[in-house]
């Protein structure tokens, strides 16, 4: 165990999974998973559906509690806190403190339908970060401009297309200034012609570079383009990982080869 990681170092991993196991009843979706994310690393997780890749994001966002193992975020345990040298289940307060370093964009957007695009983006900075309303709005406007929705701020989610909703959702997550951003199949629910506008926004974020990004996606071309590292995940474990060129063009494991030949044939 490396419990004494100093916080905020540029080389220490921002996220570290140590033997993390998660099962839903009989089905084990994460099997003693060891996994690290560098402070500004862009990682794409690919693999067959039902392989548990989304669960990696969900336990990290504290939406699912692991059955075993420890997850560290920025040197601190996420689901645990240290008491008298022992790791015990985290209190709500500790969970909120560590969770604040992580942001997430969902497959189905999950925008708040009773709020305008602008309020969707300002709500958490105002109520969670206690940012003055004026400052939060100024920043929200900047972020909505950045995702190309400067003219849709007063629109409600129901008045926006899927691609626009997802871009608002990205702005909403960015407003909390996370150190790690999770993208969970964020283009899977979109009509094909709207996928590009969302990928463009994510590509720009990847190029800006300061935030670590963890993407689960079926867009292989995009994964190749933005990732520092591609992780092939199957049956609850990392099968193979490396730079995109290695994984896509020269996979070593039979399972990886079989998966890519099936995916790329489509």
């Amino acid at each position: 165990m490396h419990a004494n990681h100093s916080q905020g170092s540029t080389t220490d991993p921002i996220v570290r999974f140590e033997k993390v196991t998660k099962a839903f009843g009989e089905l084990t979706v994460l099997r003693e998973l060891n996994f690290e994310v560098g402070p500004q690393e862009k990682i794409t997780i690919v693999g067959p559906s039902g392989s548990g890749k989304t669960t990696i994001l969900r336990v990290l966002m504290t939406l699912e509690e692991p059955n075993d193992g420890v997850i560290y975020v920025d040197g601190e345990p996420l689901w645990h806190e240290e008491k008298n040298g022992k790791l015990v289940k985290a209190s709500e307060k500790h969970l909120r403190k560590v969770r604040g370093k992580i942001g997430m964009v969902f497959q189905h957007f999950n925008l708040f339908p009773h709020m305008t695009a602008l309020r969707n983006v300002t709500e958490a900075p105002v109520h969670v970060l206690k940012m003055p309303k004026g400052d939060a709005e100024e920043r929200a406007k900047m972020l909505l401009d950045q995702v190309g929705l400067g003219d849709k701020m007063e629109h409600y989610p129901a008045q926006l297309s899927g691609g626009q909703k997802q871009r608002v959702a990205i702005a909403r997550a960015l407003a909390m200034r996370p150190k790690v951003m999770l993208f969970d199949e964020v283009t899977s629910a979109l009509d094909p012609e709207l996928v590009g506008e969302v990928l463009n926004v994510i590509r720009e974020l990847a190029e800006e570079g300061d935030m670590a990004m963890l993407l689960v996606t079926h867009e292989m071309g995009f994964a190749r383009e933005v990732s520092d590292r591609v992780v092939f995940f199957d049956k609850g474990q990392v099968v193979e990982q490396g730079p995109p060129a290695d994984i896509f063009d020269n996979p070593q494991s039979e399972r990886t080869k079989a998966f890519f030949s099936a995916v790329l044939r489509h």
Binding site: L63, E92, F106, E123, H127, A173
Partner: protein
């Protein structure tokens, strides 16, 4: 058979309207109790702590499965034996609020359950406090579609408040009966009481129907 006496009807109308005012006061006070209590009962029943959820669940089922009259008599005749003596109107509104609070709690429960899991997950991902999740995200979405169902219970309470006559609250129904026993004419006071109930509840029911149609279109 006595025929309808318009002169008599006009004479008793002010007293009946006075009774109607008491009926409305009891209904509104009871409804405010019911919608606040119902929310807490619904939240309590959802609690992860079974020491809270189970007793509240049992309480809700018990009240819902017994007549309002039992609760009225319990508060009015039984509690004073143990030193808790309250005015009839107060007992009546508390019993009404309690009885209907168990119904509204089910409305809240269904409304809260109708909120997609993704809303809770987005709220967690944005790190809102549990209180803010309820007040800022969940309830503002859950409550508007509940309004028609709550409106139906309001109308139900308005009519069932007639039972308060059993504990001597001089609301509309008791007023009509007292006029009947005083004058030996029941036709006009009872008919007029019925008409007054109708004049308020029927238009309200129409409004509720329109609200229902509006939410049905939206979803």
């Amino acid at each position: 058979m006595l025929g309808w006496d318009w002169q008599f009807t006009l004479e008793i109308l002010p007293r009946l309207l006075g009774g109607l005012v008491v009926t409305i006061e009891a209904t509104i006070t009871g409804f405010i109790i019911a919608i606040i209590l119902g929310l807490f009962l619904a939240l309590g029943r959802r609690s992860e702590n079974q020491w809270i959820a189970q007793p509240i669940g049992a309480f809700v089922e018990f009240i819902r499965s017994t007549p309002l009259l039992v609760q009225l008599f319990f508060f009015f005749f039984v509690l004073p034996r143990y030193g808790l003596r309250l005015p009839a109107f107060v007992v009546g509104t508390i019993a009404l609020g309690l009885h209907y609070g168990t119904y509204t709690s089910e409305v809240y429960r269904a409304g809260i359950d109708a909120i997609e899991r993704g809303q809770w997950e987005a709220a967690t991902a944005l790190n809102f406090s549990p209180l803010r999740v309820w007040t800022g995200i969940i309830l503002p979405q859950a409550i508007p579609p509940m309004i028609p169902a709550l409106g139906n219970y309001l109308i139900g309470m308005f009519k069932e408040s007639a039972q308060l006559l059993a504990i001597t609250v001089t609301e509309l129904m008791l007023t009509a009966r007292v006029i009947g026993t005083e004058t030996f004419r029941f036709l006009e006071p009872i008919t007029m009481a019925g008409l007054l109930y109708f004049l308020l509840s029927y238009p309200s029911a129409l409004i509720v129907q329109r609200l229902e149609a509006r939410y049905a279109r939206k979803s």
